[in-house]
Amino acid sequence: MTSRPPWSARVLLRLLLRGRGSEFVVGDLLERWERDVAAGGVGARRRARGRLWKGVMGSAAAWWRPGAVRDRRRWRPAGPDGNDDRGGDGMGMWLQDLRTAGRSLRRRPGFALGVALTLGLGIGATTTIFSVVDGVMLRPLPYDDPGRLAAIGTTFPTREWADEGAGLKYLAGISMLNVRDFAERTRSFDALAGIETTNVLLPDQGTGPELAGAARVSNELFQILGVAPALGRTFVPEEHEAGADPAVILSYGAWERRFGGDPDIIGRTVEPVGLPFTIVGVLPADFVPPETFLGSMPDFWMPLQPNHARYASRGSRSLGVVGRLAPGVTLESARAEADGIAAELAAEFPDGNVYPDGSWFGIGINGLHEDTVGTTGSTLRIFLAASALVLLLAAMNSATLLLARALDRTRELEVRVALGAGRGRVIRLLMTEAGLLTAAGGLVGVVVAFAGVEAFLRMAPSSLPRIDTVAVDGRVLAAAAAVSVGAGMVAGLLPSLFATRRGPSSVAASRTTTGDRSRLRATLVGGQIAVAVVLLSGAGLLFTSFVRIVSVDPGFEPEGLTTMFVALKRPGAEAEPGWVGWDRLVEEVASVPGVEAAAATSNPPFQSPSWGPRLLLPGDEPDRRREGIGGFAVTPEYLETIGTELVSGRHLLRSDGPEAEPVAVVNSAFVRTQLDGADPLGLQIRQVEGDTEVVLRVVGVVEDVVQTSADEGPVPAIYMPHTQVDWPFAQLVVRSSLPAETLVPELRAAVARFNPTVPPQDVRTMTDRMSASRTDPRFHAFLIGAFALIALLLSAAGLYGTLAHAVRSRQREIGVRMALGSARRGVVGLVLREGMAITLAGLFLGVVGALLTSRVLADLLFSVEPNDPVTFLVVSGVLLAVAAVACLLPARRASSVDPVEVLRAE
């Protein structure tokens, strides 16, 4: 059985190797392919493919060298192969077409440039987005046999996690004990590896102590991913025992940056506070950590020690797990097995696995690639579709231009036909022209794509995974070439077929506008307008959505606020109650000159609450679970410091101390969602934590503060005094009118006085935080907006060009009309009516199309419906205005026709 080479290679062979004698070359290449494939062995097909491509390109290059072409043409053998295609050497004719086409385009450089730029924009836009889609979604992860890698984590029984189709679940971390038990029971995986992010504190090198990113990992991770160290070794089993001599592997970057790329680094130590880690290995430069677990490359990799005391609780779900599926095991069967194991674990170890109502935490499995791409996939598909619309529009636009040009040349073409050129030959000539223009457009497109990818990478939100993989490369360029060919077909074939439809007898009739011809052009222009309307509507919706997000009342005064993350546990203060640390920190910072107010909270605004307390309201069953309530430990000054207004009751006070009656403040969303709006003041809420229970009295209600981001909607919140909650970290919130350059160093110094061992992290102004929370919607609106703008301009240009051309070719008719007494206004009306009829038809089609498709945007929109009538009205208005300008210019030109001139010219 013969195996077929890749279709792309076959197509190229056919296209590139033509003319006399090519049969033998092609035959040889195919024969070698067969032999290479038949040779078998590991990677035989890949090798064969490589050799085939090399052969095709090499042969084509040799085949078309000018000398070779000349030789082939000159030499007419009497030999047995002389019968190939004597007379009409395919190549000769092709070259002749090419020359003719090139000559005729040189005569109309403006036209050629216009088509090339139009196609280039479309090709460039599509290529840009394709390179992003390729890098993020299509390219396999850079590991051994990546298709068999899976991410394993905890799924929640009650929370409504979005199911991203194809069984993809949102995975939270999983506890070490559950991982261990899962690994013992599963038959679906060859190997499992745990990953945990952490930090190491590096000693003060003069610039203050530094926290460096680190990861604790199972040694299996390196085997599962197929990573060999660049230097030294990975971990040995003993190093995974609790209390073993601490070993560390460096990332390549850390090795270069922190240790100057010292080749004798193995065996040396780094001394993060107290612990002399021994460097045992350096990871290779091209290693990319699994992004779904590690957002950035950790400098230090340490052995995960499963027996360490920190993993004793099943409630501590801190690990990401990556597994290699056993051969033949599908994700579905692994999921089914995991469901069973999760049920077993819940029955055997209810503590930490089971909720009070009896439901339990599940074990979820996603393909590692799908888990990494996550929900970005659907957004990228929308971008790709939008860019394809731009390309379609560009192709239609070019088709209009080429059609107009073909019609202008009817006489020339018909002379060619009269001189004996067949219809096929004329089509070939026109297609060759279109091909040349498309090739030029493709080149422009590649330039646009390089610039576009650059701009995309600069503007893309950091939430986009695998962004490092995105680049314009061979794959992307091949796609650009394919797209160009497709666009060229659309742009060239339609006009060629149409222009050559009638025989030579029509020469005489060619000066009048026939219905067919203007119908085709009107259809093409109307189509462009329709596509533009679809893109404009999408952009309009995303823009409206962005504006709504920006104008959400954040519920506090963000200007002048600075936040930073501070670890409260500090050496020498282990014995004191947790709240003392909060107070010391706030005191230290409040004493900085220029600080107007300082407070601390477990989570500041524009950050998701990290604590969901279990609350029981009066009348709740003991196993009632109220979900989605954010719990906040705050110093009493917090709500006033951020400028949140009191709705009723009072704020927390310093007198709500550790010995006083436990109290709490709730927000309006809490009152709305948990109490149906009933007055909460004085309400007794039971807060249950394991076996202990505290009764909190609600003393005040505040307005809603935006937490995760403005488009998430308000979170029902309960604020408790820091003295009543044990929380090991604080987010410091400082209000000051000092500029950041002066304030931040002062704040750092103050935090260092409080705790010299752990520097503050994530130091940001509140406005930065807010702006970061909006990068996604801003980017969506910008990207689709850019496409819509291109679409609007191209379709307006198409409309203008078509009308202008119609006016030009109807000058005689207009002149006669005016000579017969038609008013100038009537002539203007004539052109305007034609233009507006096309516009309205396109607008109608576009609005229908937009209404049908805008639902795909639903997930990206905030507080605007996909069929928002206002957006559609505005979009229609903008389009009509632009179209009116595009119509008016040629209309005025028509009215300035001098009938005497026109008739004399006849």
Partner: protein
């Protein structure tokens, strides 16, 4: 007097000698690759052979189509006496020019490598 054979042309003619009546493009490519480790594209081989045929140094013959070639035919080449003369002449040129010089050439090359 025609121009001298290029190096690539010499390689091809030697391949024809080696292959006797089995000399078609792919086989020639393999022969060159086996002996010299150099990969040459089929297009380049045929272009060169066409040139040689035009000079009357080789002749060609069309074979039967085969399945493994996707139904395409092979084109077999034979070295003509004139081609053999040219080939031996061009090898002679090199041989007589290099006479006694190779040890020195190799010594120089070794120096560079070391």
């Amino acid at each position: 007097m025609s121009r001298a054979l290029g190096e690539f042309e010499q390689l091809i003619l030697f391949a024809l000698v080696q292959l006797d009546d089995e000399a078609y493009g792919a086989a020639i490519g393999r022969a060159i690759e086996d002996r010299t480790g150099r990969t040459v594209s089929a297009g380049a081989i045929y272009t060169a052979l066409d040139r040689l045929a035009a000079r009357g140094l080789v002749t060609s013959e069309i074979g039967e189509p085969t399945a493994e070639r996707g139904g395409r035919r092979r084109k077999y080449y034979t070295l003509e006496p004139a081609g053999a003369v040219e080939l031996s002449r061009s090898v002679d040129v090199i041989r007589s020019m290099s006479e006694g010089l190779m040890p020195k050439v190799e010594a120089l090359a070794a120096e560079r490598a070391g």
